[in-house]
């Protein structure tokens, strides 16, 4: 799984947005915007280019999940198992990084000279 990490921020947010279940493109973009506090705003061209790349990499796949009355042509996307694992390992990696940062900062605040 290490092959995928570290993920690009856009890929990370896209995978993260799919954790709760399959979404169609517009909803996916909306979820990504929400979860990134407005940092990641996807327009159709880039969104679908990224989806296709992640699809190729096997992290995302098309899903049959669809509201019964909905337009049948509308595609939903879901995390693959590989996608879920990649996201999890990326999460762990980020956690490790965050811990490392916290440790260093804590140490620095106790002993200010370390930082210089």
């Amino acid at each position: 799984m290490a092959a995928h990490a570290p993920l690009k921020p856009v890929d990370f947010h896209l995978l993260l947005a799919l954790v709760d279940g399959p979404l169609h493109g517009y909803a996916l973009a909306g979820r990504m915007r929400e979860e990134s506090d407005g940092q990641v705003q996807m327009m159709p061209g880039n969104l679908y280019a990224v989806i296709r790349r992640l699809d190729r990499q096997g992290l995302v796949t098309e899903s049959e999940a669809r509201q019964p009355e909905e337009d049948r042509r509308r595609r939903y996307f879901a995390l693959t198992d590989a996608g879920r694992q990649t996201l999890a390992s990326e999460g762990q990696r980020m956690e490790r990084m965050a811990n490392a940062v916290r440790r260093r900062l804590d140490a620095a605040s106790r002993d200010p000279e370390v930082t210089t």
Partner: protein, 920 residues
């Protein structure tokens, strides 16, 4: 809500077009979803200000970044992936992957080629930029004036009333307040007429925060005006019936967005502020956006006013709008309103000869401008055609040079499609470059156009370079690239493969310079340019004719002012007569003023309201006559001030008083129509249904009352002492004017006239402090205004014709230069056997001229059709005007010769020895 539909489909169409730039499998897999995504973005953008424009910007940014990314990822994938059949759905592209990557590849190759050959690239791009820029600028006018939805609710239910003489529907004028009262009582709420509203153009002086400011175009409106028009304010509210105060101006006003921004610095708290308008406190209740459509442009302020039916300053000046029921029949409403006006005339005999007609709001707003705008659009479209032909010709020339390369690639098995995409991507690159330059040029031309057309075209506030207009620019650029990129592609597949590979260029050099498709292109270019040059020649001749028309009076040094006396202060004829006599006396005593007079109406003045009165000759029952004549009441000295020549008898004098015999001075046309060749002095005619008989005491020269293009009508002048008017136009002539030869310098004449008009305004204030003049003018400006529209279109089409000639000349130049280069051997040989430089120049020019002559002949043929279309715009010039056509032939031939002269001179400098050895 047509607007949204129209521009949505445009944005969506552009978006769908952009999908073709993505890799094919992405487009096929997700194109539909991407479009659905767009729909949702659009739905969200709809409620926001500028939402659509912002969305367009973001989509553009998105496409620009995503397309190269998608191709890069695609390419990386193609290189790294091991095709495993049936693994995942997206791997189905396998075989097509090559063709999918060719477009960006082709584009890169095209870029490289463009950089290698900057001269060619720049010439092609600039040629196209001229065409695209001019077309985009004109399209911004076409779109803004003719196509953009009018900014009122349901414009198709809105109508404009006009009052006109029954016999002359073309000569419309405003209505009387009492008309409105009658129509409101009888028609409003019936016959499909929902509501009537009225307005009056005026000028007010605004005093707030310092300097007084004259607001040239303000509108006095009744309480129903904004409701009837159906427009929403930017801030605050519109004027309502509750703001109205009977018989006078109310103390509420609405200001324009422009005034709000320029004068009040976009103050968000403007609503509620009290301004001083003409000395009275008036509260601002709202701000109106700049696109409130009215027949006149640039309204700055709307103030509410209750019409006083006895106020003669309002007579014949009210504009009236009618809002019809959604399902109302236009003709029914018109009949009901006309019937009301007819009933009104039963008690007001002066309106017997008048009726009203209803025109649709859109028609009233833009109707008269439409044909000319479309003609301009057609003309500029021809320029694009010439520019495209130039590009096709240039691309063909290059395809010929690359004949060997193309033939080799074909022999190596290159698919027709691959070669076509390669050639197309080159032409698309050029047209894209031309489009970008063209849009830049359009921004400039757009500004110039707005400047020149100011006051001449309606709805200029709606003329913008926005998304639909830019979409048009993109569209024509793509079209130009596609259509004219195909020319060399088609050519490339009709060539003799083997011969080309061997490098044979035998056939062409023996023939004329135009022995290939480019010959046809040059013929077409010349023909089209000739059509435009003909149109320009006719319009310019027309303008010269208009300028040469003698107005019938001396314009230089004339200025004046309009005075509308207050009814209350001047309630009797004697008071009015004394006021004008006192004012004129004061004026004549002013240093520098040599003559002064006043009249109920002035020639060339758009604000003058004309009356044509029926008249009868002795022994002729008036009821049987349809004869009418222009009626003016004047003071002594008026005709002399204008400089109208006296032909017989005498002019009006101070001795013509209310208690002396009723007299009139008539114009030449009246004399001829009524009395033929015999002397009319001493004859008489009657007016007002025979109740007044006037004796003719003199005949004066004809005056073109309505500008040079109008026929002179019979007219008669009566002394104001016998028919008094409260509203007169006072004119004066300055001493310096004389009959000098400076009539060509408009600015000087205008300045001299304005000095005089300022003197008139001062004299009026000195005569009665409480009666300031209504407005001032210089006759030179009025004269210029009378032909302003003709001048605008004449100069516009002339500019187009010049560009067309330039482009056609560039086309000829390109083809001849190419032929000279190809024919070095032949030309060298001729020189080796004794041909002089002059012979060579003659040879080259005469060969190219043959083609130009075919184009010229063809163009003259088409010009016949174009000229017929122009006839409505022409005055005193026929479509077959010989001097115009001679000029066309001369100018076109000169351009054709000039264009081929440069390459011809190059040809004459060929060194025969080197060219025969095959060196260049």
């Amino acid at each position: 809500m047509k607007t949204l539909d129209a521009s949505r489909s445009l944005l969506e169409r552009l978006f769908r077009l952009s999908l073709w730039l993505y890799p094919r499998d992405l487009r096929q897999a997700y194109g539909g979803d991407m479009t659905r995504f767009l729909h949702q973005l659009e739905a969200r953008a709809r409620d926001r200000r500028l939402g659509r424009l912002r969305l367009a910007g973001r989509l553009l940014l998105d496409a620009v970044t995503a397309i190269p990314r998608a191709h890069r990822w695609q390419a990386q994938h193609v290189m790294t992936s091991v095709p495993t059949p049936g693994a995942t759905p997206w791997r189905r592209f396998g075989k097509e992957s090559h063709s999918m990557t060719t477009f960006p590849h082709d584009l890169r190759v095209a870029f490289r080629r463009a950089r290698q050959n900057p001269g060619f690239t720049l010439v092609a791009a600039f040629t196209l930029a001229l065409g695209i820029g001019a077309n985009t600028a004109i399209f911004s006018v076409v779109y803004g004036v003719l196509l953009r939805p009018i900014g009122v609710a349901d414009p198709e239910q809105l109508a404009v009333l006009s009052l006109h003489r029954t016999q002359d529907p073309g000569d419309a004028q405003g209505m009387w307040p009492s008309h409105l009262v009658t129509m409101r009582e009888e028609v409003e709420g019936r016959a499909g007429v929902q509501q009537l509203a009225s307005y009056l153009f005026d000028s007010v002086t605004l005093l707030s925060d310092g300097e007084p400011q004259e607001l040239g175009t303000s509108l006095m409106v009744d309480g129903a005006f904004f409701d009837t028009l159906g427009v929403d304010p930017l801030l605050g509210r519109a004027l309502e019936a509750s703001d109205l105060i009977a018989d006078r101006r109310g103390n509420a006003c609405v200001i324009s967005e422009t005034l709000w921004r320029s004068r009040f610095g976009s103050d968000p708290d403007i609503v509620g502020r009290v301004l001083s308008i003409d000395g009275a406190p008036v509260e601002v209740v709202g701000v109106m956006p700049d696109n409130v459509p009215l027949p006149q442009t640039g309204v700055q302020l709307w103030q509410v006013q209750g019409w006083d039916v006895t106020d003669n300053r309002l007579f014949g000046r009210l504009g009236v709008l009618a809002r019809l029921e959604p399902d109302a029949a236009f003709s029914v409403a018109e009949q009901a309103l006309a019937a009301s006006v007819t009933r009104f005339a039963e008690t007001n005999p002066r309106f017997e000869a008048y009726t009203i007609s209803l025109s649709r709001f859109r028609q009233a707003l833009i109707g008269s401008a439409q044909p000319a705008i479309l003609a301009a659009a057609g003309a500029v479209g021809l320029i694009l055609l010439i520019a495209c032909a130039n590009m096709a010709s240039l691309l063909l020339s290059r395809a010929v040079v690359r004949e060997r390369e193309i033939a080799t690639r074909r022999a190596l098995g290159a698919q027709r499609r691959q070669l076509t995409t390669q050639l197309l991507s080159e032409s698309l690159l050029l047209s894209g470059l031309g489009g970008v330059l063209g849009v830049g040029l359009a921004f400039f031309l757009h500004r110039v156009l707005l400047d020149l057309a100011s006051g001449l075209l309606p709805r200029l506030y709606d003329v913008r370079l926005d998304l639909p207009v830019l979409g048009f620019a993109v569209g024509i650029s793509l079209l130009a690239g596609l259509v004219f990129g195909l020319a060399p592609a088609i050519w490339a597949f009709t060539r003799d493969l083997a011969g080309a590979m061997r490098g044979r260029r035998h056939a062409r050099s023996r023939q004329s310079p135009m022995s290939d498709p480019r010959q046809a292109l040059v013929v077409m270019q010349v023909a089209v340019a000739v059509v435009l040059v003909t149109a320009a020649a006719l319009l310019l001749r027309n303008l010269a004719e208009l300028r040469a028309v003698e107005p019938g009076f001396e314009i230089t040094g004339l200025g004046g002012a309009r005075v509308y006396l207050d009814d209350d202060a001047y309630s009797s004829d004697a008071q009015e007569i004394d006021y004008y006599l006192a004012l004129l006396e004061r004026l004549r005593a002013t240093p520098g003023i040599v003559a002064a007079g006043a009249s109920s109406g002035l020639p060339l003045d758009p604000l003058t309201i004309d009356y044509d009165l029926p008249y009868a000759l002795p022994g002729e029952p008036e009821s049987e006559t349809l004869r009418q004549a222009h009626f003016r009441t004047i003071t002594p000295g008026y005709l002399e001030t204008l400089g109208v020549p006296l032909l017989r008898g005498r002019v009006l004098a101070a001795s013509d008083r209310s208690d002396t015999e009723k007299v009139a001075v008539i114009n030449e046309t009246f004399a001829r129509v009524a009395w033929g060749e015999s002397n009319p002095v001493g004859e008489s005619f009657s007016i007002y249904g025979g109740s007044r008989t006037l004796q003719v005491v003199g005949v004066v020269g004809d005056v073109r009352f309505h500008g040079p293009a109008e026929q002179t009508r019979p007219a008669f002048f009566v002394p104001h002492t016998q028919t008094s008017y409260g509203s007169m136009t006072v004119i004066a002539r300055s001493a310096s004017s004389g009959h000098s030869g400076d009539s060509g310098d408009h600015d000087a004449r205008s300045a001299a006239g304005r000095q005089v008009s300022a003197a008139v305004a001062r004299a009026a204030l000195a005569t009665d402090r409480n009666q300031p003049v209504h407005s001032t003018f210089a006759l030179a400006d009025l004269e210029r205004g009378a032909v302003a529209t003709d001048r605008f279109y004449g100069h516009l089409i002339a500019a187009f014709a010049a560009v067309a000639l330039l482009l056609a000349g560039a086309g000829i130049y390109g083809v001849v230069a190419y032929w000279v280069n190809e024919s070095r051997r032949e030309l060298g040989l001729r020189m080796a056997v004794g041909a002089t430089g002059g012979d060579i120049v003659g040879l080259v020019v005469s060969r190219s001229l043959k083609t130009s002559l075919i184009g010229l002949a063809l163009g003259m043929g088409f010009s016949g059709l174009a000229a017929r279309g122009l006839e409505p715009f022409l005055f005193g010039v026929t479509a077959t005007d010989s001097s115009a056509l001679t000029a066309v032939v001369a100018v076109s031939l000169a351009a054709a010769i000039f264009a081929s002269l440069v390459p011809a001179i190059t040809a004459a400098r060929i060194d025969p020895v080197r060219s025969l050895r095959g060196e260049s």
